[in-house]
């Protein structure tokens, strides 16, 4: 055997995998390099979407691991260059964005979501406001995990659906949250741990409160705000409002959800302290 025939053998790039994921009522088909498809499958697998008429998504990663495309009903929805670091978050994010962008009846907002006493709390905030850390701290101390990324809402029933992607735990998340909730590490990429908490919501819960998280003093300050003010804040975040064809739906739906919800801002530099404060409000 000469060196030339060795070079023709199997390489890492030539081991491909095709996986068909049933995420509740949504199908995602993955194809690409084996290791990448396996990791992406592990991260997406816990998701279970309610029936909202979502057509299947096909994600194709090129064998050289440089590009990925998402296709729905034969049309390319997105095409991205896959970064060497952080690729798992990028591709999982593309899949999530595809799902939220195709919702027909349900609404979404980029937010953390937990259940306290069987009722849904939605934690909205800019990037860096401490959504994931606050969710982690609440779940660690008895709350139930619905999402650290997407609050999926049904305005007709005023309920919050689980969107149980694993928590994306960065080094600073752990530091800010203190101890992480009990759970399973489903994947790890670089310094990001994908942690699926043990206390997962199995069904939708009634919406009780919208919380606007803001960076502030160490000692948390929770203040009630008007529902109208909260609606403006929701419209300022990544949500169903961003899609022109859903703007009226989002306005009417979020308005309906807010009519019976508590609305607060929570300002603190300590997500763990914020979590304690929110729990004490829940008990009032």
């Amino acid at each position: 055997m000469d060196a030339g025939s060795d070079a023709m053998g199997l390489t890492r790039e030539s081991i491909l995998r095709v996986a068909d994921l049933r995420l509740g009522h949504w199908t995602v088909r993955l194809s690409g390099p084996d290791a990448m498809v396996r990791s992406l499958r592990q991260v997406l697998q816990p998701l279970s979407l309610p029936d909202d008429g979502l057509p299947p998504l096909t994600v194709t990663i090129t064998p050289d691991e440089h590009f990925a495309t998402g296709t729905v009903q034969g049309g390319v929805q997105w095409s991205v260059e896959v970064p060497r670091q952080g690729w798992l978050s990028v591709l999982a994010g593309q899949v999530v964005a595809t799902a939220t962008g195709m919702l027909q009846r349900l609404l979404f907002i980029h937010a953390g979501a937990v259940a306290l006493g069987g009722r849904g709390w939605i934690l909205v905030g800019e990037s860096g406001a401490g959504k994931t850390s606050t969710v982690a701290a609440i779940v660690r101390s008895g709350g139930v995990y619905l999402s650290d990324e997407v609050a999926l809402l049904d305005p007709m029933t005023r309920t919050l659906h689980p969107f149980t992607l694993p928590m994306s735990v960065k080094p600073w998340t752990k530091k800010a949250a203190g101890q992480l909730p009990r759970g399973t590490e489903v994947a790890r990429e670089g310094d990001v741990q994908f942690l699926l908490p043990a206390h997962l919501a199995a069904t939708a819960v009634p919406v009780e409160a919208f919380i606007l998280l803001r960076r502030g003093p160490i000692r948390p300050r929770v203040t009630s705000i008007s529902r109208a003010e909260m609606l403006l804040n929701l419209a300022n975040h990544v949500s169903s409002f961003r899609y022109r064809h859903r703007c009226e739906d989002a306005f009417a739906g979020f308005g309906r959800l807010l009519q019976t919800a508590q609305c607060h801002t929570a300002e603190s530099s300590s997500p763990a302290a914020t979590a304690d404060e929110l729990r004490s409000i829940r008990k009032l």
């Binding site: 529902r227 109208a228 003010e229 609606l231 403006l232 009226e248 306005f251 308005g255 009519q259």
Partner: protein
């Protein structure tokens, strides 16, 4: 294009969406009271109905007019077309 607003009452505030302009407008309770009364009445009528001086009402009316939620036609104030959400 349509001039219709979509409106929702949240407590004593009113939030209006202009779908074509993708613009949200919040009316506080005072602005809501004035806006609700704009049914073809004059500023003087509003002052009587709301039992408030014209000097207090007029600036709010001007602001509402600038956002397009009321129109001033032949000395009378009219709400823009709207639907409740």
């Amino acid at each position: 294009m349509t001039d219709d607003f979509l409106a929702i009452a949240l407590d004593e505030d009113t939030v209006l969406l202009h779908p074509d302009r993708t613009q949200l407008i919040v009316l506080d309770p005072w602005a809501t009271r004035i806006w609700q009364q704009c049914d073809g009445c004059t500023t003087e009528d509003l002052a009587i109905r709301l039992q408030a001086p014209i000097e207090r009402i007029d600036p709010t009316l001007q602001t509402l007019a600038r956002t397009g939620v009321v129109h001033y036609v032949k000395d009378r104030w009219m709400r823009a077309l709207m639907r409740w959400a």
